[in-house]
Symmetry: C2
Subunit: 373 residues, 2 copies
């Protein structure tokens, strides 16, 4: 079956069911009037009891404005819905979390913040999804500050956790020191920014962040505000130029950018035993065999048909499961670092083609959840 | 089990499940990346395809600001959640509709309208619930105008449909003419207003609408705007005074007000074979035996432990089922009248203690749904 037929057959991938029976008047009087007044009164007296008597404690809102969906770009709220439903399916199947898609028509930063705050009472956590940068940064930061439930932009931090986990294991294979790595991150959007920040937190010595205009450099005055801030904490030697200049004598390439932008010759510019994470989807920055031809030792992609699949589903279900179970109201950098290490440790037999757990590995959610506390 | 234990045991009454299997990489590639891009692209090309490929066509948002919850009043968004979950349970169990609670922290009219519009992409219908008057009128009216999905404030129109259905059958028992009835409606809030309007549409000759200040009268200049409008279309003879003045020589009392405000003596003021709908919950305006003592022929209440239970669950599941199935984008007065007649007709053996179907009657949803088209 193709995906269109599949989606038409199911008419949406989620269903909302009742956990309680409703067969007779007694059932009705417990679940609805008059009995339902009792938990209402308790919550009115003590608002935190909403976790005790309602769905809040196991419910996550998957919030998107449809502005940066997969490789499709700004397709809007309605067209984003199949993706958000899919995300909710993953929450349920991997972490037994009840997730509901909230697709917002507005793409105004303040309005999105206000809407999410206003509809937050029913949610125990907010997963921001496919919101374009730089708006995604302010939306996440403000919601983290102004809400007392965990808020995470998965495109940023889910990606960062899984990339770091993969890199921790890749470094073991090539026998290099993490802090000595020269890392090139291509793509300075939501994911590239968050990945760079988390790698720095982990102790990466230097990161060269590259966007379509070239290497981010603190001498460049024309950068957007958030890129200026990234330029301050990356590129210690103030290298200038383009992606190829960055690649020279680098150890790691992390692509969160566009399909087919590299050739074997570009990989040859890198140091020996290069590590390539080519995560553009569905077509990576360079195909694994081409990268190997250029001398790469380890290649990871976002795809399931090659080894080393870097997939967010390895992080977000466990992160939210842990936050909900451990009453965590803010997901900190410490927790993300712990999650990445825990995730890396799930792989028992680390080798070239096995740096990251399989997405269907049942242990992943448990151990990641355990690291969020 | 009491209701608090019950709610604590289930920790919320809803669960969101996946309709699709997610056992292997092929499943994942159909439900999520890369396959999910296909329906996204179709919806981007033709927005109405969101009904074809997503949950929208069977999903209703149950929206409340917690400002007028049951008999509890303005308890706020969190404390309203158990009721909204219960409502969603009823949607599922009675009409197989996927309903999700949206509890909004703001109680500002414009903000609520804006939020509901902004999060409407995922919903095929909006059920407004427990929003206080007069804000509920503007919120409903504006959303009906500005959204292309059905929007219904159930406290208003669900109640009106069921009351009219009950009254149609009650009139048969007492052998009076509907258009000649003198009807007293006590309570000029959301429900009282909507009930009065629908009874007038059905052809009621005169309605005396009474609130805490007394009978609504067009000579009273101090009324709120919406009550002024009601005063224009009711009380043809410009009667003045209080509830007892209204009851004199009336045929029908419809209470949507407060517990225990009437005694047998008050019913004696009414015409012979009086019809009493005492719907204050959980304690009615007058208990059935007391009303009968005063000479009432037919008594209905909101309670399940007396005959003739006037319960909104007889209307809203079928109304939304019909709207979703028949692609109805506005619920009109005509449809509400049809629904009421259809609902009345479900009762085969109409008599004093049997004017309205049982809430568990399986036919109800089907026939009501069939009348909404």
């Amino acid at each position: 079956m193709d995906s269109l037929e599949f989606h038409e057959k199911y008419k949406g991938k989620l269903s909302i069911i009742s956990k309680v029976s409703l067969k007779n008047r007694e059932d009705l009087s417990l679940a609805y009037t008059p009995g339902v007044a009792e938990p209402c009164k308790e919550i009115y007296k003590k608002v935190n009891d909403v976790y005790k008597y309602t769905i809040k404690g196991n419910t996550v809102g998957v919030v998107s404005d449809g502005s940066a969906v997969l490789g499709l770009g700004n397709i809007g709220a309605e067209a984003a819905l199949p993706v958000m439903e899919g995300k909710c399916v993953l929450f349920k199947e991997f972490a037994n979390i009840d997730a509901f898609p909230i697709c917002i028509k507005s793409q105004n930063t303040e309005e999105i913040i206000s809407i999410v705050k206003n509809i937050s009472p029913v949610f125990g956590g907010i997963n921001l999804e496919d919101i374009s940068s730089p708006r995604c940064f302010e939306i996440e930061e403000r919601l983290k500050k102004e809400l007392d439930i965990p808020v995470m932009h998965d495109d940023q931090h889910g990606t960062a956790i899984v990339v770091l986990a993969g890199l921790i294991n890749a470094v073991k294979v090539v026998k290099k020191e993490f802090r000595n790595l020269k890392i090139v991150v291509n793509g300075a959007g939501a994911a590239g920014t968050a990945v760079s920040k988390l790698l720095l937190k982990e102790g990466a010595g230097d990161i060269i962040l590259v966007d379509r205009e070239g290497i981010l450099n603190k001498n460049n005055k024309n950068l957007m505000q958030y890129k200026k801030e990234m330029a301050k904490i990356t590129n210690k030697e103030s290298i200038e130029g383009g992606l190829r200049d960055a690649l020279e004598n680098s150890d790691v390439f992390i692509g969160l950018s566009a399909p087919n932008i590299l050739k074997a010759g570009d990989i040859k510019l890198m140091n020996r035993n290069a590590i390539i994470f080519a995560m553009a989807n569905p077509v990576p920055e360079i195909m694994p065999d081409e990268a190997k031809k250029g001398g790469a030792k380890i290649v990871a992609t976002g795809r399931s048909d090659f080894p080393n699949q870097i997939n967010n589903v390895l992080a977000f279900p466990g992160v939210f499961r842990g936050a909900l179970d451990h009453n965590v109201r803010k997901i900190t950098d410490e927790m993300k670092l712990n999650a990445a290490h825990t995730l890396a440790d799930v792989v028992k037999d680390v080798k070239e083609d096995n740096i990251i757990p399989d997405v269907f590995d049942k242990n992943v959610v448990k151990v990641v959840a355990n690291s969020i506390k």
